[in-house]
Each structure stands twice: as C-alpha cells, then as structure tokens.
Symmetry: C2
Subunit: 298 residues, 2 copies
C-alpha cells in the first residue's frame, strides 16, 4: 500500500468516478483502474460496488476512505513541519504560447535560474487551448497566456499585464508610421498571419468580419520570429504583440502603423490552479515576474 494509491483512491471517492479522478490527477483512466485494483488486491476486499457504468462505495470502501484521508492529512502535516518550505526547489513546469516563450520568458528565466539553481524549470510551448488543458490536467504548474481576460473559478491569476497588438511593416513600406490607415487599404496588402489558433489573429478576423472583409494572406507562419524576419524583408505586413517587436522597432528594422477601425489589446496572465499548493518555486517565479514588470500590471 503506497500513498500514491491512497491519494488516487481519495480523489476517486471525491469525484465518484475513475475517469474524472484520472483527469484531475493527470493520469490515464487505466492507471486509476489499476491503482484501485492494487488496493483491493492488497486488502483482499472490494472497495466499490460496480454496476457497469456507475460505482458506489461499499462499507469497506467508506472505512478505507476515512483512513486514507487521515493518512493524507498526516502526510501534509509532515511535509509542512519537516520540509524546507521556504527554499524554492524541485520542479517548475510553465506552459506558454510560442510568442511569450520566445520574447517574454527568457529575461525572467535567466534571472530565476541563477537565483534558484535548485529548481528544475520546464517550459512547455503550445497553443493557448493546449496549455489550458495541461493546467487542468496538472501537467503544468503555471500558465502564461496572451489572450482576452481568462477566467475560471478554479484558477488564480497571479499577475497580469495589458499587451497591445501592433501593426508592423518594413521601414521602407508605404504604411510605415501611418496613423489611422483605413482597414480596406490594409487588406489590399499581403499579410503575414500567425497560425489559425492564434488569439489576436482571431480578434482581428472578428473585426474584419464586422466589415464583411477578409485579410488576404499567402503565408501562415507558426513562429513569431520568422514573421518578424519576413516582415523586415518587406514580404508583407503583419500584427503582433508589442513585446515581441519592441527590439525590432527600436532598432528601426521594423516600423509600426495604426489602423483606423482596429484596436486590439490583450492580456498576459500568469495563472495557476486554486486547488494546488503554491510551491516556493512557484511563489518565487511569480515574485520574479512582478518585480521585473513593476508598474506595468494591468
């Protein structure tokens, strides 16, 4: 009998479902089945009445649940009292979208890693949809979104910042520096678009829809950096979060312009699940972001 099994058991009882518990614990459903089977095997007792689809705790099962929860509580107490709860250590899994991972994280991580060498950081890059799923399934500890305001009652937003989406072109392009360019005129141009799942591309297309228009594009590029390169080489115009282009603008490799009908502002949010314990490694990361971007919160 191992604590792993008891935790799974407790979750199963709470959710009254093997598959829901699996989801919450980040296991496959078959894993939960196996773990419960192990408990039953070891104790020589069935814990659930199975009726095809539905499960119900039987007497022994209820008794075990009491013990399991006591044990798990005692383990928590043990950890709280014995473990070093101040020094960040262990692992920290951060889910981000590509642009944030490339242009926002590096500065922070460099600092974080030197300050807390005992933390093993893992950065997982995926689409917003995917990282949200990862967070739900406990595959990541923290998620950095670039999106409209994200809200979920199970989640805590630890930090957020407004982020403008800006229109960009090569410095020699006719649009460079233009203010209030009519949308119709923009859409004459070839546009370099991010991948279909991208939030701000969605927002933009939604606005276009409102005017019964559509951007023309021969290129869809998943990598923000590549879009930057292409735009610098004047292969089209584009729009990207300001943070990704700050450097290019300052170096005058890119110019920006504004479009009359379009103003997109998104939010960078740092989110974790309410139900998990916010580890020192997480706390330190949150603090690091807050300090690095002081006076820039949303």
């Amino acid at each position: 009998m191992e604590l792993r099994n008891l935790l799974t058991y407790s979750k199963v009882c709470e959710a009254m479902s093997f598959s829901k518990a699996a989801d919450q614990l980040g296991y496959a459903q078959s894993t939960v089945t196996t773990q419960i089977a192990q408990l039953e095997e070891e104790l020589g007792v069935k814990l659930f009445d199975r009726n095809g689809k539905r499960i119900r705790l039987n007497a022994k099962g209820q008794e075990l649940l009491l013990y399991a929860n006591q044990l798990l509580a005692l383990v928590s107490e043990t950890k709280a009292n014995v473990s070093d709860t101040k020094t960040p250590r262990g692992s920290l899994r951060i889910g981000v979208i590509e642009s944030v991972g490339t242009f926002f994280l590096p500065d922070i991580l460099e600092d974080y890693l030197t300050n807390f060498p005992e933390v093993h950081v893992q950065v997982l890059t995926a689409t917003t949809r995917e990282i949200m799923e990862m967070l739900r399934q406990n595959k990541i500890d923290l998620m950095l979104t670039l999106d409209e305001q994200v809200y979920d009652p199970d989640w805590t937003c630890a930090w957020s910042r407004k982020e403008d989406i800006v229109f960009l072109c090569a410095p020699e392009h006719a649009f460079a520096g233009r203010a209030d360019l009519p949308l119709a005129e923009l859409l004459q141009e070839n546009m370099l678009l991010t991948e279909r799942q991208c939030n701000y591309r969605h927002s933009f297309e939604h606005i276009c829809d409102g005017y019964q228009m559509r951007p023309r594009s021969s290129l869809e590029i998943g990598c923000t950096n590549t879009i930057l390169q292409f735009t610098e080489h004047n292969l089209g115009v584009t729009f990207l979060p300001r943070l990704t282009v700050q450097a290019s603008l300052q170096a005058k490799r890119l110019a920006n312009f504004s479009v009359k009908e379009v103003s997109i502002q998104m939010l960078i949010q740092l989110i974790y699940r309410k139900s998990i314990w916010c580890t020192p490694a997480m706390k330190a990361f949150i603090e690091k972001i807050r300090n690095t971007h002081k006076n820039m919160e949303a």
Copy 2:
C-alpha cells in the same frame, strides 16, 4: 513521499545503521541509501548528520521519525480494520532443504493449494544455513528445517516433529535387517553421502570422530532421490531421514539396519520470525501441517 521510504526510514532510525536496516528489510545497502536520499531530496532537508561511518539523527530527522511512525501505525490500523484478515491470500514463501522439499512438502502443498487457491506459494530449496539467512533477511516467510533443535530468540517454532535418521541398503545387501551392526563394520562399506553441509551427515561424522574413524565414500550426492536410486541399485549403503525412505522401505526396494554405536535423531521444525505479522496464509499453512501430522509432534 511513499510509505516504502518511511518504513525504511523508521528501520534505519531503529537500527541507527543503513546497512543493518537494509539487512532487516531484505534490501541491498545501496537501496536504503537511495531511499533516504529521496526523502531528504523531497523534503529539502538533511535528516542525518553523517560523520563518515556513523550517522546521527538531527532535529528535522527526529521530527520526521515521529511522523513516520505515526503514519506507519495508522497504516497498520488501516490494514487491520479494512483488509480481509481471515482469507489466506497473497504470497507465501517457504524455505526448505532439499529432502524436506521433496518428501515432506508435496502432500501438504497439494492440499494447501487446492484449499487456498488465492495464495501464491513459492518454495525455495537451499541448505539449512542458507534458508536461515533468508529468514533473517525476510526473503522467506516460513522455514522448514531438518536439524538439531534450532533456537533463536527472534524466531517462533510453530511446529516440530522428531525425525529418525535410518541406515539403508539394498534388500539383497548383507546388512539388510541387521541390528546393532558394529560401526567399524559399516565403515568398511562404500557409503553414499549427502553433501558436506548436510546436518545429519555432520552428526554422523561427529560420532565417527569420537571413535577416531572416518566413513569412506567415493560419491557425494546432493539429491536425496538420487541417493535412493543408487542405494536401491546396491552401489553403497547410506543413511537418510526416515521420511524420505518410508515409501522405498514399504515397497521393499530398500532395507534398513541399525548401527550399534550410532543413533541420530533430528527435528523437523517449522519456524517464522517473531517480528513479522503471521499472515492468514502462514497460519493456514501451519494449521495444515499440524493437522496432517497430528499426534506426531515432537
């Protein structure tokens, strides 16, 4: 943090030694080192002051020990209350010497296995010395010895029976049926001896020593059955525990005889460690032996 680690930790604290704990738990020493390291890693805290050879619990270690013992006690309570403590199930590891394994166990096991199909029985055949070591190291649950009286304060003898060592020859051999054959005369003969570690061979040689004599033997055979075959074919005379030759005597394939100066009686003992919990599977096995050999206890 898993209970396995906490049990190891508790044992280490009890023995104040990694290697002793490893021995008691049936682990390699490196396993204990690793398990403790895991605990320390996970808690981010050193539990022992290491001073090369000696280890000493530090403050955090002492605190953890209290919790660990509480947790282990609670686990025991859980098992006691939730698990089916009546039906024999799980595994049963029995250590025996070859002769007992071949001639004593089969009848009992056949019965046992049909009665308790949920028990996975494992029979480990080795020398007396080896099975004693296995018992100490928790590699077996029960040990069946054929030896002089075995006593260890850590062990419980669940059952025992006297066992004569009898001298045997082919029915056509001159010794067949002889009583009080002089030892000197026996030693003229070629003897089929069991392997050097064998208890009753030891006893016999010890007696011979007393008379400044030595058995002559061109053959040492580890397998009791083979000795029986050879003796039946009149390739020598031998001595074996009565239980191994009962059938051969009755079938008149062998004859026995007695030697004036030699009378060896040994004890079959069924032994388990006091410190472990006597599982239902063990209890049932003990009962089975007691019933099968009713009125034959030592």
